[in-house]
C-alpha cells in the first residue's frame, strides 16, 4: 500500500454510475426485507398482544435468531437459495428485521397507558376493534423506533452478503481488498453510512407525519 492515498477522488468521479447502481441494489436487498418484516410483524404483534402465551416462545426463538452471525446464516442458505442470489441475503435479513420489529410492536402495544385502554373499553370498543383503532395507532412511535433500528442494521448487515456474492455496496470492500486499493472501501463505508442516515432521516420524517402527537422521541 506504499504511496497509495486513502482516497483517489478521480476513481470516485469515474465510477459514479457504478456506485449509484450498487447503492440502489444495496437499498433493495437491505430495505425490502424490513418492509416485508414490518408487514408480518404488525399482524403477528397484534396476535401476540392478545395471546401472551404465543409471544413467550416466539420472543425466545427470535432472541436466538437475532444472535446468529449473518455470515453463517447466508452460507447455510446457499444450497437452497443459490450462490450470489438476492434471496440468500434477503431471507436472513427479513428474519433479523422481524426479530427487532415483533418485540417493538408488542412492546409498543403494551406501552399504551392503562387508562387509555380502559377508556377505550368503557367507550364501547370491543377487544379487537380497540387493538386496531386505539392501541395500534397509539403505538406508532414505538413501531417507527423499531423500524429505524431494523433498517439501519439491515443496511449495514447487507454488506456482509458480498462474501457470498451479493452484498450491494459490500462488493466494494471485497474489490478494494483484493486489489489493495482503499478508495472503493472508503467510498463503500461512506455510502453505507449515508444510505443508513438518509433512511433514518426519512423514518423520522415519517414519524412526524404519522404521529405528530408524539413530541420529541418515542413516547
Amino acid at each position: 500500500m506504499d504511496g497509495e492515498p486513502l482516497v483517489r477522488w478521480h476513481w470516485i468521479g469515474d465510477h459514479l454510475g457504478y456506485l449509484r447502481d450498487l447503492a440502489l441494489d444495496h437499498a433493495v436487498i437491505s430495505l425490502v426485507p424490513v418492509l416485508i418484516a414490518l408487514l408480518a410483524a404488525v399482524p403477528l404483534g397484534l396476535l401476540c398482544a392478545r395471546l401472551p402465551r404465543l409471544y413467550q416462545p416466539l420472543a425466545a426463538v427470535f432472541n436466538v435468531v437475532y444472535a446468529l452471525p449473518a455470515i453463517a446464516v447466508f452460507v447455510v442458505l446457499i444450497p437452497y437459495t443459490g450462490l450470489a442470489t438476492r434471496a440468500t441475503v434477503m431471507v436472513p435479513l427479513t428474519c433479523y428485521a422481524l426479530a427487532v420489529l415483533l418485540p417493538a410492536t408488542v412492546d409498543g402495544l403494551r406501552a399504551v397507558p392503562e387508562d387509555v385502554r380502559q377508556a377505550a373499553t368503557a367507550l364501547g370498543y370491543g377487544p379487537w376493534h380497540r387493538l386496531a383503532a386505539v392501541e395500534l395507532p397509539a403505538s406508532v412511535p414505538y413501531l417507527v423506533a423499531g423500524v429505524r433500528v431494523a433498517a439501519v442494521s439491515s443496511i449495514s448487515l447487507a454488506a456482509v452478503g458480498a462474501l457470498v456474492g451479493r452484498g450491494g455496496l459490500g462488493y466494494l470492500f471485497v474489490d478494494g481488498f483484493q486489489r489493495t486499493f482503499p478508495t472503493p472501501i472508503v467510498a463503500g463505508i461512506a455510502l453505507v453510512v449515508l444510505l443508513a442516515l438518509a433512511t433514518d432521516l426519512l423514518l423520522v420524517l415519517a414519524r412526524r407525519l404519522l404521529a405528530p402527537w408524539a413530541s420529541g422521541g418515542a413516547r
Partner: protein, 233 residues
C-alpha cells in the same frame, strides 16, 4: 444437499482432528481473539460510559455513537484496517474493538443513569461520597444492563471475528471463508454451524448471569428487559 454427509465429511476429516486447522484449535483461536477484543472494549468503554451516566454529561455522544456504530459495515472496517495497517491480528483488533465498544458504552451509561435518583440522593444524604455511591449503589444497580450490553458486544464480536477471516484472521471464520473460496461446501457449512453454536452458547450463557445480577423484585416478576443496543453480528 446432504447435510448429514457434509457435516460427517467436515467433522471426520483428519485435518480437523489435529494441526492448525483442527476444530479445537480454531475454536480456541476464535475465543482468544474475541476475548482480547472484548477486554479492550470493556477497558475503554465501560469507565467512560459510567462517567457519562453518572454525571449526565455527554449523553449526546452516546446517542450519536449508537447510531453510527449500528450503521458501520463490519466488512468495510475490517478490510480498510488491514489495507491501512497491514495484514496481522493487531490491525483486525481495531475494528473489532471499535464495533464492540459502543454497546458497552451505551449499556454502562444507561445502566448508571437509570439508577433510581431517589436512592442516589438518599445515599448521598446518609453521607456516602460520590465514589461510594457509584461503587455501592449505581454499579450494582447497573449490573444487569451492563451484562446485557456485554452479551450484545460478545455476540457482535463473535460475528465480526468470523467475517475477519476474510482478511486473514484465524478462528472459525477460516472454515467458512476458505470453504467458499475452494468450493469446499462441507467446510463452509460446518464452520457456519460452529459459529452459530458459539454465538448461541454465548447468548445463553449470559441469561443466568443477568438474572442473578437483577434485583430480587425484577427476578420475581421476570421483567428484566434487556435493551438492544447494537446489532449482535
Amino acid at each position: 444437499m446432504n447435510w448429514l454427509g457434509w457435516l460427517t465429511t467436515f467433522f471426520t476429516a483428519p485435518a480437523r482432528q489435529s494441526g492448525p486447522d483442527a476444530i479445537a484449535h480454531r475454536i480456541a483461536e476464535h475465543l482468544v481473539f474475541c476475548g482480547e477484543a472484548l477486554l479492550w472494549a470493556v477497558v475503554l468503554a465501560v469507565p467512560l460510559g459510567v462517567l457519562i451516566g453518572y454525571t449526565g454529561r455527554g449523553a449526546f455522544v452516546v446517542t450519536a455513537l449508537t447510531g453510527a456504530a449500528r450503521a458501520l459495515p463490519t466488512l468495510g472496517l475490517v478490510t480498510l484496517a488491514v489495507l491501512l495497517a497491514g495484514v496481522g491480528d493487531t490491525a483486525v483488533l481495531v475494528p473489532l474493538v471499535a464495533l464492540a465498544a459502543p454497546p458497552l458504552l451505551v449499556a454502562a451509561a444507561e445502566g448508571v443513569r437509570g439508577t433510581d435518583p431517589v436512592v442516589r440522593d438518599a445515599a448521598l444524604g446518609i453521607g456516602l461520597t460520590h465514589r461510594q455511591v457509584l461503587a455501592r449503589v449505581c454499579l450494582p444497580a447497573a449490573a444487569p444492563v451492563l451484562l446485557a450490553g456485554l452479551r450484545t458486544a460478545t455476540v457482535q464480536t463473535i460475528a465480526t471475528a468470523t467475517v475477519a477471516a476474510y482478511v486473514g484472521l484465524g478462528g472459525l471464520g477460516r472454515y467458512v471463508v476458505d470453504g467458499l473460496a475452494t468450493k469446499d461446501y462441507p467446510a463452509t457449512v460446518g464452520g457456519a454451524l460452529l459459529v452459530v453454536l458459539l454465538a448461541v452458547a454465548a447468548q445463553l450463557l449470559f441469561a443466568p448471569l443477568i438474572r442473578r445480577a437483577s434485583p430480587p423484585q425484577a427476578r420475581l416478576t421476570r421483567r428484566t428487559r434487556t435493551r438492544r443496543t447494537k446489532e449482535p453480528r
